[in-house]
């Protein structure tokens, strides 16, 4: 009976329009945009999709969702359960509210060990808030298991995984023994959208709520200090190319580009 653990995180919506994206520079935090709801990190949801595709082929697979974060993480957990995951663990402890990537990895590792054994851990290639891509690989070091990153396809066959990875100029097939960790990329495809019935069923599924005390660990110390967070000024002086017809605009732009010696 294969056991897959999917790591998910709730983040500010990365599709927040630039005009509404604001940062509190003193607090070094993103100010939630009014009317824009936080959302499960997109690559993590794709990871749940990857797990569900494996479960479709091997129906006795158990998929456990795991999230570290405040109460808002419940949304990412519920969405993943509605996609078809079986169980969930929510680690919520104010002592690690400002966890950096290494604290996150250590806490997740302790929780994973508590629900071991597992065959596969799936995470997003990076969370869409900090874009670091560190936690999955760090977990591999802590747990002593191989990590294959940036996957577009995962097959679980007995004690092995076969992973299609996305490279900059192509793809590669990688095989590794389980247990293993795989991080997934958008090339895997769209995550399934849960039906109303599944959403209702998910509401009844049990979510284990753990604190650090339940894991028997103290809060580890952060390894990085966030010194500043700001919005870079990327605006340039824009000339709107005016013209009565597309031809007129085309002529004008070609002229401008020639003047700038770009064509």
């Amino acid at each position: 009976m294969p056991h897959i653990i999917c790591l998910v995180k709730q983040v500010p919506d990365p599709e927040t329009p630039a005009s509404q994206f604001k940062v509190d520079e003193a607090a070094k935090k993103v100010i939630p945009a009014p009317g824009v709801q936080p959302t499960p990190s997109q690559f993590d949801t794709i990871g749940v999709e990857a797990a569900m595709r494996i479960k479709e082929k091997t129906p006795d697979t158990t998929v456990t969702i795991m999230s570290l974060g405040p109460e808002a993480s419940r949304d990412a957990i519920k969405r993943s359960l509605a996609m078809g995951a079986d169980e969930a663990v929510h680690i919520n402890d104010p002592a690690v509210n400002d966890a950096d990537h290494w604290v996150t990895a250590e806490v997740l590792a302790a929780a994973i060990q508590k629900i071991s054994p597992y065959d596969l851990i799936i995470a997003g290639r990076q969370a869409t808030d900090w874009d670091m891509g560190v936690v999955g690989l760090t977990l591999g070091e802590i747990l002593g298991v191989p990590v294959v990153t940036i996957a577009k396809e995962i097959q679980l066959n007995g004690g092995n995984i076969t992973v299609e990875r996305v490279l900059l100029d192509g793809f590669e097939t990688v095989e590794a023994p389980t247990p293993a960790i795989v991080t997934v990329s958008n090339e895997l495809g769209e995550p399934r959208y849960p039906a109303l019935m599944q959403i209702m069923q998910a509401a009844k599924k049990e979510v284990k709520a753990w604190t650090l005390a339940d894991l028997g660990i103290a809060a580890p110390a952060n390894r990085v200090n966030l010194e500043a967070l700001y919005i870079p000024d990327t605006s340039v002086e824009t000339e709107v190319i005016e013209g009565e017809t597309p031809q007129e605009k085309a002529q004008k732009l070609a002229q401008r580009l020639r003047e700038a010696k770009l064509i």
Partner: protein
Amino acid sequence: MPNGVLVIGEAADDGELHPVVGELIGAGAALGGPVTVALLGTGIGGLGEKAGAYSAQRVIVVDDPILDGLQSDATTPVAERLAKEVDPAVILIGQTMMGRDLGPRLAQRLNTAVAMDCVALSKDGDKFVAERPCYGGAARARYTMTGSPSIATVRVKAIEAPAPGASSAEIVQQPAGIDASAVRTKVTNRRKEESEGVRLEDAKVVVSGGRGLGGPEGFQPLEELAKILGGAVGASRAVCDLGWYPVATQVGLTGKVVTPDLYIAVGISGASQHMAGISSVKNIASINKDADASIFKASRWAVVGDWKEFVPAFIEEVKKVQAA
């Protein structure tokens, strides 16, 4: 006392020194150096001199068949050993396929931290400061680290490489010194997505298409435009995900970083994760039917209109200008 900068580099796909290595050596020198370079790979025996030409003090070439494909199970223990031997204050790695996997694993081995995909490095007293985009490129974060050494992976083309000179570096060849059983991942197949013409990363002009094209056929006029400008065609993540254009042409946070002299964006709204791939481009011309498209804010020239009417007319005008 840890001292100096260790650059961990590799060869590019064509077997030449990866361009990011020169950029990292320059960044290391700007941090005060001295810079030791470690090159990892197979068939890279001749690259030591080339790295030395960027004024590195010492180059350690680890040319070993076990490093074929630069699997992180192989690069991590080698980098860990080198880091302990060299004992640097700072380790710099490119944000390449190797660096993405090696950076975090090496940081954990050395019980320290890494800042990924950095675009600026500096020093504040004796503290190493790494600056990196986050929130898909919408914000910038500046970090210091509590452990030692500090590690950063650096975005390709974010920092200008110094001009190479004559190498006076001490060049040392070393075996990897690890057992094949340490490499648990096996690459069984690799397929290149060949693109015709100019490489996207090297192109002076890039013409990119987004969801506004409405379908894969929209790329045909863009290909024609790129061809007459001697450029390459790029694409947004949205259209690669839709299967309209090859994944290898994706420009942005999860695709390629491009630095052409001119970037022409057609039907691209300008999501921050796309802008992350063109953040160093000075000249952006964009065409979009939505006058409020955020791409316009970063564009030097903005054309509000229907690309279907504009692009064919623009191709004709470019031809006229070129003939004049």
